[in-house]
């Protein structure tokens, strides 16, 4: 196994306050990972531990097979780790031009090699004409790309991106995430992105780790964490959807207020158990001929479609995405049918 990065049972604490508890994951060379979680879940601490700015209190961090952090106080200092980092505030040097910022980590190269690498990167980030500009003359998105180029310039073993889009406009984020993914893939760079925005994580990452209160709840592809969440926390944090009560009838069926629903279980549940079943808006199809008619409690216009909240019974509701020319008033009833492939059900304790 040629792991670019291996995090092995790592815990991180500030004083008595443990912010990361026994987290493990690994990335192959060229893979892009993402640590996703609400603010305060400790995700940035992992990044800072990889970079060498925070010690670990348990476990070990390996970069390219070399142990760089263990609890034995044998920390490799940040300057010897070959790690590139893109900061939330970009941390561009205001006294240096764009070209000099990018060349900042290249001082060990000859000046012609520096020149060449800088030109190459400016080309890559599409800022060839701004080589002599100062950071404050650039837009936020441009500064972001300069910060990325600067971190990439010394060809680090791994690139760490700490909420790199949080200071930017929403429209810009999606586009930059796509662009940056392309750049990273073209340069075959291993990278980790820390974010609280799942759309960003989906757009950028091959593997996503869902962190909550210092624990890693799931590590997998975007498809996996969305469609096969490993527990209720992940199910509630990722995407939209509602949990409805049901009872397991056999290996492929759950009896609910909507009738019997068929599909494949993503996790093992015992027959006869009471469960919570996750139903996402895309599991539910608008169908006027259906016998299942439910009252519209609420609706949100989203452009291409409406997100309707349907009342199943007193304490259960469903979310249903319907093309927006199907405009129904609140109080009206609409018909739905289900198209569920994976039954995501969690036993009720």
């Amino acid at each position: 196994m040629n792991n670019a990065l291996q995090i092995h049972n790592v815990s991180i604490a500030y004083g008595d306050n443990t912010v990361i508890n026994n987290v493990s994951f690994s990335l192959d060379r060229g893979e892009i990972g993402s640590l996703l979680g609400p603010s305060g879940c400790g995700k940035s601490s992992i990044l800072r531990a990889i970079a060498g700015f925070e010690p670990v209190t348990e476990g070990a961090i390996q970069l390219q097979g070399r142990i760089v952090s263990t609890l034995l106080d044998k920390m490799v200092p940040p300057e010897e780790r070959r790690v590139g980092m893109v900061f939330q505030d970009f941390a561009l040097y205001p006294h240096l031009t764009v070209a000099k910022n990018i060349a900042f980590g290249l001082r060990k190269l000859s000046s012609s090699d520096q020149q060449q690498r800088v030109t190459e990167l400016l080309q890559l980030i599409g800022l060839k004409d701004h080589a002599d500009a100062y950071p404050h003359q650039l837009s936020g998105g441009q500064q972001q790309r300069v910060a990325l180029a600067r971190a990439m310039a010394p060809r680090p073993d791994i690139l760490l991106l700490d909420e790199p889009f949080s200071g930017l406009d929403v429209e810009l984020r999606q586009q930059l995430a796509k662009e940056i993914r392309m750049i990273l893939k073209r340069e075959d760079i291993t990278a980790i992105l820390v974010t609280h925005d799942q759309q960003e994580a989906f757009a950028m990452a091959d593997k996503i780790g869902v962190l909550h209160q210092g624990l890693m709840h799931q590590w997998g592809s975007g498809y996996e964490i969305y469609h096969r969440p490993s527990n209720i926390t992940v199910a509630e944090f990722i995407g939209e959807g509602r949990l409805i009560k049901g009872k397991v009838i056999d290996g492929h069926h759950i009896e609910t207020a909507l009738g019997s629903i068929a599909g494949n279980f993503t996790a093992e549940v015992a027959v006869g158990h009471e469960v919570s079943l996750l139903l996402r808006p895309d599991d539910i199809i608008h169908n006027d001929e259906s016998d299942n008619q439910f009252e519209v409690m609420d609706k949100i216009f989203r452009g291409a479609d409406y997100l309707y909240t349907l009342k199943i019974n007193e304490d259960t509701s469903l979310l249903c995405m319907v093309q927006s020319h199907h405009n129904h008033a609140i109080g009206e009833s609409i018909g739905i049918s289900l198209q569920v492939n994976d039954l995501v059900a969690f036993p009720i304790k």
Binding site: P77, E79, R81, G84, M85, D89, A91, Y93, F104
Partner: protein
């Protein structure tokens, strides 16, 4: 180190309980009452004067458009370059009986001595006017920033609700700017309390002149220290007031944007009035006195510019350069210490070291000389006892004592500048450099020094100019027969040789313009960002 720098203040405070004998009783019976009343009256006068000039000019230049507005925006800062004692000398020369104004009046009116009434410059009202003319920029600066900051969010609302300019000013802008105005006012009043040159020259007895008299006239250190302690009480009230109002001010400056600012277009009479008010302020506060100084300097240049004057300049520059470099080094050490090891102890120490700026030079001088003299005497005594050798005065009466006093008083200036500069270097910038293979020393060279260069230069300049202007501490602590520009200007003016004092005064004013330029440049820059 910080503790050492706070020493003078502690010495002065410590003397509150020391018996000063009959002298204190004598002071309390006779002049103390005068000191307190005069100081309070002076503060009241300066408060009224600076408020009208400062707030008025700030409002006009930020919220109204009239001919010359952008020029006045920075021009109104120029009086800061004029120390109060220098403007006092100049106006005395202009307005006293033999001065050009009264001579002209007599000529036109055909009056003789005693035939007409003319306000006496050398009075408490005169002193308050002089100080108001040069201290209003404190209020101008802070209230201007406040007006700019609030414009977008609330002033437009008031206007859209149908309030006219005057109503908006009194019901919205003024109350909102109040914390900033009070902060500026307390700074101006601290300077008023610290002033020695003006009140001494005008014969107004206040605490500072009282301290001098107790020190030089009555030769009673304890009484001087006790007067100093009382003065400190006044000052600390102002410090608390300033801190308190600034704490509130933070909440008011939530939005710093002011692109939406739409000025009232003034025309006709109102434009003329606005122009007249701002121009009048600037004219009386800077142009007239500076012009008079220049005129005197030109007429006396030949006889005054001798080797003695060169020595004066050399002394002043040497002291100012030495003090500013030392202050910078100290400030760097402290600011870095605070940055690297954030802890309550260090924060407190840095705060403590920065306190000196509020303390009047007279008080610092007294606080420096008492322990230094005690040290000298005990070393001398010890040496005489053991080696039969007299060391004499080692510290007191030397430039060391003087420079120490300057450090106590002006360290805050360089500390503030350096801290502000260091604050712009965010921790992530250090971390970025480390992740790119830089070690601490290399980070300092590649990132910190180039980024701090401007602040370092500013810190040096500001302290340099402040030291050059400083009068009372220099007067008390200077070595025998050691003169600086400020001291010389004071001495000559005291001898009624106003014209001869002008070259030294003009040199001080010209160097004083440097920080004004720096300040106005940083203001314009902050507006463009």
């Amino acid at each position: 180190m910080a503790t050492l720098l706070a020493l003078p203040v502690w010495v002065v405070i410590g003397h509150i309980w020391m018996p000063a004998g009959d002298v204190w009783q004598h002071l309390a019976d006779t002049v103390l009452q005068d000191y307190i009343t005069n100081s309070l009256l002076l503060m009241l006068g300066v408060a009224i004067g600076t408020l009208i000039l400062g707030v008025g000019s700030a409002w006009l230049t930020t919220m109204c458009n009239f001919p010359g507005r952008s020029l006045f925006e920075w021009g109104l800062l120029l009086p800061m370059a004029m120390p109060a004692y220098i403007i006092a000398y100049t106006y005395t020369g202009l307005l006293d009986f033999a001065g050009p104004v009264q001579s002209l009046l007599r000529e036109f009116g055909g009056w003789g001595y005693g035939d007409y009434w003319f306000p006496e410059v050398r009075s408490i009202e005169g002193a308050a006017t002089m100080m108001s003319l040069v201290l209003y920029p404190y209020i101008y600066l802070l209230s201007r920033a406040a007006f700019l900051g609030q414009s977008l969010c609330v002033l437009d609302v008031s206007r859209s609700l149908g309030n006219g300019p005057w109503r908006t000013f009194f019901t919205v802008a003024l109350p909102l700017a109040r914390p900033a105005i009070i902060a500026g006012l307390s700074l101006a009043l601290m300077e008023t309390l610290a002033d020695y040159g003006t009140v001494q020259y005008f014969g107004v007895s206040t605490f500072t002149t009282g301290i001098f008299r107790a020190w030089f006239g009555l030769d009673n250190a304890a009484a001087a220290a006790q007067l100093s302690a009382m003065l400190l009480l006044f000052v600390f009230t102002l410090v608390v007031l300033e801190r308190y109002s600034r704490r509130n001010a933070q909440y008011h400056h939530t939005s710093q944007r002011h692109q939406g600012l739409k000025r009232y277009e003034l025309s006709g009479w109102s434009a003329k009035l606005a122009f007249g008010f701002t121009f009048g302020t600037l004219f009386l506060g800077f142009i007239l006195p500076a012009g008079q100084l220049l005129y005197w300097a030109l007429t006396t240049a030949e006889e005054s510019l001798d080797s003695e004057f060169l020595l004066l300049i050399w002394n002043s520059l040497e002291l100012a350069a030495l003090a500013s470099i030392l202050a910078l080094l100290l400030a760097l050490v402290m600011a870095y210490g605070k940055r690297l090891h954030e802890s309550p102890v260090i924060n407190f120490a840095v705060r403590l070291a920065g306190m000196g700026y509020a303390v009047p030079g007279t008080v610092i001088a007294v606080g420096v000389i008492i322990p230094f003299a005690a040290f000298d005497n005990s070393v001398d005594g010890w040496m005489r006892n053991h080696f039969d050798y007299s060391t004499g005065l080692i510290l007191s009466g030397t430039t060391i004592a003087l420079i120490f006093a300057y450090l106590v008083r002006f360290l805050a200036v360089s500390l503030q500048t350096v801290e502000a500069g260091l604050g712009k270097i965010r921790p992530s910038m250090d971390e970025a450099a480390r992740s790119m293979g830089y070690r601490s020393g290399e980070i300092a060279r590649a990132v910190h020094i180039p980024m701090l260069r401007g602040s370092i230069l500013t810190a040096l300049l500001l302290v340099f100019v402040d030291v050059l202007k400083e009068l009372p501490a220099t007067l008390i602590l200077r070595p025998f027969n050691f003169n600086t520009l400020a001291v010389r200007a004071y001495e000559l003016a005291s001898d009624e040789r106003l014209a001869d004092a002008s070259i030294a005064a003009l040199a001080i004013v010209i160097t004083g313009i440097i920080p004004v330029i720096l300040l106005s440049r940083s203001i314009t820059r902050s507006r463009h960002e």
